[in-house]
Structure formats: C-alpha cells, structure tokens
C-alpha cells in the first residue's frame, strides 16, 4: 500500500484538467480518481479542493455522501452483493451471510490483507438471475450458498498460489 505522501498527484491534475477544473464535475472527477487509485487518498482530495477552489470540507461532504467512493483503500477484488427486492425474496440475505462468514468481514468492509472489499448494492438490474453477486464487474447469477463458497475459493486459492482444483 502506498503511503499517502508518495502518491503521485500528476494524474489528479490530469483528471481535473480534463474537466477544465470546473467544479460542477466534482463527482466525475472523484470517480476518475477512484478508477485510478482504487479509493480516494487524502492527498488527492486536498489537491482537488485546491484546483477546483472548493472548500475541502465540501469535497469531503461529496466524497462521503456517495457510495461509489471510499476514503479507505479497497481490496483487490470488489464483491458486490445485490440487495434488490427480487434478489431479496429469492434469498440473497443468506448468500450475503455466507460470504461474510467465509471472508470474515462484514458488508462495507475490506479484508485485512486487502484482497476483498465486500459491498452491498441496491439492484444491479439482472433480476432474472437473482440472487446475483458481481465480482470485479463479472456477474454471477442464481447464487446458492454452495456456489458462492466455491466461487470464493477460486479467488482465495489463486492467492495462495496453489493449483488446487475443487473436488466436488
């Protein structure tokens, strides 16, 4: 993990410049910074505040209001569990439970080893496939507790560097 003092801010300047340093694009700018850095480092927010001439407190208001942003570094793998109504009635709360137990983190948290960030999202619009979870932008539908355990194992065993194939 980079120390905040080491984060290069040229990219922040480029992003701000691409929006002509116009403060009405603050949210887009923060989104682009998130794509670049995987979260919103403090240094970046300070730079944005300066360049856009928006008080830092207001930049923070925006950065903490919207769910797309995180002030803390996020994990390598982003798991989004759909909590839409259709997925809810198809039993997604139990899927979420299982993921939380397997990874030992609660929704909204990142695992200590920075491998996984688990978040809930309110409907990804793939209701026919409910319950749905999205990992790194890949949709996985018709989840069951068994399936999700196997799916997570693929990511955790890859990390361990072992070439274990699932025998089941």
């Amino acid at each position: 993990m980079q120390l905040t003092s080491q984060i290069p801010l040229d990219e922040v300047d480029n992003i701000v410049d691409s929006y002509d340093a116009d403060k009405q694009y603050l949210i887009q700018i923060l989104q682009d910074i998130t794509s670049e850095y995987n979260y919103l480092p403090e240094q970046c927010l300070r730079r944005v505040s300066k360049r856009l001439d928006v008080p830092l407190s207001e930049v923070l208001e925006v950065a903490t209001f919207y769910k797309a942003f995180s002030l803390k570094p996020r994990g390598k793998h982003l798991i989004h569990v759909c909590l839409g109504t259709a997925c809810h009635v198809r039993g997604v709360p139990q899927i979420l439970d299982r993921i939380e137990r397997t990874l030992n983190i609660k929704a909204g948290q990142t695992s200590d080893d920075l491998m996984f960030t688990l978040e809930t999202v309110n409907c990804v619009g793939a209701c026919a496939l409910g319950p749905v979870i999205v990992i790194d932008g890949q949709y996985h539908g018709q989840m069951t507790q068994t399936k999700v355990t196997k799916l997570l194992e693929k990511y955790t065993s890859a990390r361990r560097g072992k070439d274990e194939t699932d025998k089941s």
Partner: protein, 625 residues
C-alpha cells in the same frame, strides 16, 4: 457525414433499407446485462468461430442487441428473418444451430420454448405467449437494433420524428401534441409530461438558458426497464430529448445515469458521438438551425439522486440532498435555470407520439393513463423479464398470462409495485387494471415499473422491514422525520421480526408513519411509510402472528421458525450434513438425519439443496416439542 436536411436523412434511410437483403439470415443474440451475465459473449464468439469455419461468415449476419425482455429464458438467440426463437442457448449448441438451422433450414427442437399451458413447442418469436400478449411499442425495437450500429436505428425509422418536429412543427405545436397525447411521467410521479414542458417553456430565464434532463438514476430495487432501453436503444432517448429540447427552447441536455449501469453509460456515450457525427446532435441539427447537445453524467451511488432536486444538486457537483420544491424545478432547477426533467421511458415515448400522433397514442390505455408501460416482472414468477403492456391490463393478466404464474405451483401472496415508495397488492385485488390512479387508490403506486411478485414463502413483515432498511441506508440525513423516523420504525420492525414485538407496535408504526408523511422534506421520506402501511392493511394477520404468537409462517424470520428434517422423506443422502456450516446436522448414511436446533444458525443451505424436500420449516414451539 453530416446530414444537413430532412431529405438527406431520408435518402440515407432509403439507401440503408435498399441495401438490406430481406432473405439474408441474421443471428440475433440478446446482449443485455442479464444475458451478458449468462455468458452471451462466449456465445457470440462461438457463433463467429463456427460461421468462419463453415466459411459462411459473409453470408450470415450476427447481430448483438439490447435486452429482449424474456430474461428468464436467456441467453436468447433469434434467427431472422423468420424469427425462430431459441432460448437458454449455450456455446455448445452453436454447432448444431449452424448446421441445422442456418445451413439446412431445420429447427433445433430442444432449444425451442415450450408453452407450459399447452405443452407445445413454439417455433417463432411472435408466437411466444410472453411476447404475443404484450404491446411492445418501445421494447420491441430492442430485438432489431445493434445499439452500436446507427444504421439499425435508421432502418426502423429512427430520427424521422425529430425531422418532422424540426421542419413541420413549431415548438408550441410539439408541446400541444404531447399534451394531447396525455402522456404521464414514467418515473413514478405520473405528472402530465406536456404540461411540464409547457411550464418550462414559459418559465423566466434571464439569459434564456433552459435545460432538459433525462433521469436515468433508476434506483428502485428490482426495476431495470430504463437500463434496458438505454442499453438497447439509446438513440430513442437522444431523439426524444432533442424533440423536447426543441419544444421547450433548450440547447443543453444531460443524461444522469446511475453509477451501477456501466454498459448503459458506454452505449449512450457512443450513441451521442455517432449522432454528433451525423449532425443529429450539436449545432444546426439536420440543417434546421437548432442547436442542442447532450452530456452524460454518472451518479455516485445514491438512491435519493433519483429525486429531481437531488439529481440536479448532483449535476452541480454537490451532495444529493433534496430541497423544498415550493419553487418547481421547471422554474428554477439546474443552476437555478428552468429545467425539464423526464424519465428515460417518458423520453422514449416522445418520438412515437410525434410520428404517430396524439390521437393514435391516446387510444391506447385507460382514461387517466395513456400509452404503454414497461414493467420489470421479477421475484417469484416463472417468466422473469421486462413486459410492456397497455395501461389498463389487469395485474392478473400480467402475472399469470404473461408472467406464467408462480414457480413450483406455490400460492401467490402479493405483488409489490412502486419500489420503496409503493405498496403490496394482495390476491383479491388482482383484477385491478394497471393505471396510475387505480394503483394509488389501493395504497400502492405505479412507481417506475418494478413489479415484484411474492408467494407463500415471502414474509410480508420482512418485506416491510426490507424496504425500511433500504431507505434508512439511502436517506440523505437532512430532515429529522425521515432520518430518525425511518430508523426507529426499522427498530420496531427488527424487534417484531426477532420475536420481541409488543402489543401496540402496529399502532405505533401507524402513528410514526403519519407524522413522517406529513413532515418529511422530500418524497423519499413522505412515501417511506407506504410499504409498512400497505402490508399492515392487507397482511395484518402476519404482523399479529409475529407479535402475539412469535411465529413467522412463511419461514423467513430466523428467530420465529425452526428447520427440521421430515424423517419420512429423508433418504439419508447426507448432502445437507456436508454443507452445514455449523455441523448442526447429524445422521448415518441412508438413515434419517437430524438438525440440532441449538447449533442451527438458520442459514437455509440444507433447505435449498435437499432434493427430497425433506428439510422443512415449522414453528418454534411445534418443532421443539
């Protein structure tokens, strides 16, 4: 190649249509988000590979389209021009489809849809009851357009409405036409669109700036209609917005898309670039002298930004906190200028109305609600997907005739409409026509079009709790009735669902609800009590059973039921024992198994995987005795 006159547009259209070989085979593959999630990309690659191998890739087209709507049956492949309908297609099926259908003109029967009502196989798309019973004025185009190919949109008449409006109608005439169509907003508010346009046009603007905005922040969980229109037919929105901009006198438009729809953002942005290159957006559109351009803005992940003032605050780079609407946004909206905001589906209806006329349009639907409405029919339903029906069709027809009823022959319990602002409609009201006013009369609302079907295994108290939990998470936090009121209502519902409910809780919920409805700052707050009030109204007995008997008969609230294994049905296969995360299940092979209630954490894994339905739910008292 900029089109600089209506004549040039029509010439282009004619040349595109002339170039189409009506007999050329086209493999149309649904690539909406749902089918993408089912792996249709691999399907596309498989088709491309196979066609090349058979050396017929020049003779057969592959067209990837937006969502066809029959999501339950995806991945969907339609072989045109005949319209042969294949469902649940896998890459492994591609070889057979090519060799049989494409080359030898035969049907792959196992991929056909079987109508459960008749048991018959259906060959053609138009005969599939799911589609046949709909009126797919808007969604129907999705199956014929590759959203990345403008020629497809021209081929189905795209931009003819814009051409007509710009060159044959004055702005005021456009507004009159929309007023006469009686189109009402499709985002949930149901406000007459034409009148909104009229107010925006007449609103004062010092420097003449006016904005048109498309609300694509579709936040109602379970609703994805707007997403499918944006992904599958983005030009229809651009055309609608341009017509609207011309009508109200705006030169700048915004499409605000929620953050969770990356494909929609991509497709709309690409469509805008293409439209610009054709001179259909930007300066001097079609040589008319009218300038209009559109910018796409992504949301940051906040349901409240679907509310118009919060959306506009977000467009200004600020937090999405609503403000009082005592001065309407048509008067003072984005940057304090007159702003006309409409939902995606509302905009999509505009080219239709201009092309076919208000009279034609107002013949569809009911007295108070004209046109069609797209619903996302999801939840405990056989035919999950998007359905477009004329206003006035009954819930029963939608859920049973089009939706195919409840899976597993379970009993229907309720249908939830209107998202977190709506309510649940029980069985005895199923013959209600779907109509803005009718739905409101029974304590629900049309909302954006989410239609969540619930069955006997759904706990209605849990549904109310679910919606409150959703709203608590999404509340902006500014006003006390919503922020604190919803939080406390949720506390009461949590305790009811945990078996700690008390006499008087229902009345207390009603009391808090009334105060919130009378005092909250925005519609998120004022409508938040609706799911609670409508479930109390129609399912009070479930609340009472939770409170008095500490029982959840649907078997959802973990503390109010127990799992047990029926030893008459259990075969002792041991699958549940292996999967149980707390090792609460014991039993010898081929012997009936047992669940230790003390260890059981109610995760439900055993219940969902038992092939013999031996794992059952019972009341706490009943099972323990």
């Amino acid at each position: 190649m900029k089109l600089t006159s209506p004549e040039e547009l029509e010439q282009l259209r004619t040349s595109i249509l002339d170039a189409i070989d009506p007999d050329k085979l086209s493999i149309t593959i649904c690539s909406g988000t749902g089918c993408l999630a089912c792996g249709c990309e691999a399907l596309v690659r498989a088709f491309e590979k196979e066609l090349k191998e058979k050396e017929i890739d020049k003779k057969v087209d592959i067209k990837t389209t937006g969502c066809h709507g029959f999501c339950e049956r995806g991945p969907i492949t339609v072989i045109r021009p005949k319209g042969i309908f294949y469902q649940k297609v896998e890459p492994e099926d591609v070889e057979e489809i090519i060799s049989k259908t494409i080359i030898s003109n035969r049907i792959v029967e196992r991929l056909l849809y079987v109508d459960p009502a008749t048991g018959k196989q259906i060959t053609y798309e138009k005969d599939v009851p799911f589609y046949a019973l709909q009126t797919r004025l808007i969604l129907g185009s999705n199956g014929f357009i590759n959203p990345e190919n403008m020629d497809d949109y021209f081929a189905i008449g795209g931009y003819s409405a814009l051409s007509r409006a710009l060159f044959q109608m004055k702005p005021e005439q456009v507004i009159t036409e929309v007023i006469n169509s009686k189109l009402r907003g499709r985002g949930g508010g149901g406000f007459p669109t034409g009148w909104k346009w009229d107010s925006c046009r007449s609103a004062e603007s010092e420097d003449g700036t006016r904005y048109v905005i498309c609300n694509a922040d579709e936040g109602d969980p379970g609703a994805y209609m707007d997403r499918s229109v944006l992904e599958g037919n983005p030009h229809s929105i651009l055309e609608g917005m341009t017509i609207g901009a011309y009508a109200v006198g705006s030169n700048i438009g915004f499409i605000y898309v929620r953050n969770e729809y990356p494909l929609a953002v991509k497709n709309v942005n690409a469509a805008i670039s293409r439209a610009r290159s054709y001179g259909l957006l930007g300066q001097n559109i079609l040589g008319s002298g009218f300038d209009f351009d559109i910018e796409v803005s992504r949301g940051g992940g906040a349901f409240v930004c679907g509310e118009s003032t919060a959306l506009m605050a977000s467009l200004e780079g600020r937090v999405g906190r609503p403000r009082a609407k005592y001065v309407h946004t048509v008067q003072k909206g984005l940057h304090d200028k007159p702003s006309n905001l409409n939902n995606v589906e509302t905009w999509a209806n505009v080219p239709l109305i201009i092309n076919k006329g208000a009279q034609w349009y107002s013949k569809i639907g009911t007295e108070g609600s004209k046109g069609t409405k797209i619903f996302s029919l999801v939840g405990k339903i056989n035919n999950t997907g998007l359905v477009e029906v004329p206003m006035g069709m009954t819930l029963r027809e939608i859920i049973y005739d089009i939706g195919g009823g409840i899976p597993g022959n379970k009993e229907f319990k309720a249908v939830q409409t209107g998202g977190p602002s709506g309510g649940c409609i029980p069985e005895h009201l199923m013959d209600l026509p779907v109509d803005f006013d009718e739905l409101t009369k029974v304590g629900s609302m049309m909302g954006s079009g989410g239609m969540i079907v619930m069955d006997e295994d759904t706990c209605m108290v849990d549904v109310a709790r679910y919606f409150l939990s959703f709203l608590k998470d999404e509340s902006c936090g500014k006003c006390i009735p919503c922020t604190e009121g919803i939080k406390r209502m949720l506390e009461i519902l949590d305790s009811i669902c945990k078996g700690q409910g008390k006499e008087g809780d229902i009345e207390f919920l009603e009391e808090i609800s009334q105060s919130i409805m009378n005092s909250a700052l925005c519609a998120l707050g004022t409508t938040a009590p609706n799911p609670v009030l409508s479930t109390i109204k129609y399912f009070r007995d479930e609340y009472e059973a939770h409170i008095r008997d500490k029982t959840c008969s649907a078997g959802v609230c973990k503390d109010l039921f127990e799992y047990f294994i029926d030893d008459e049905l259990c075969t002792g296969c041991g699958r549940c024992r292996k999967e149980c995360p707390t090792n609460a299940i014991s039993g010898d092979k081929k012997e009936p198994h047992n669940i230790d209630m003390k260890e059981c954490m109610k995760c439900g894994a055993c219940f969902s995987l038992c092939r013999f339905n031996a794992v059952r739910k019972g009341s706490v008292e009943g099972v323990r005795s």
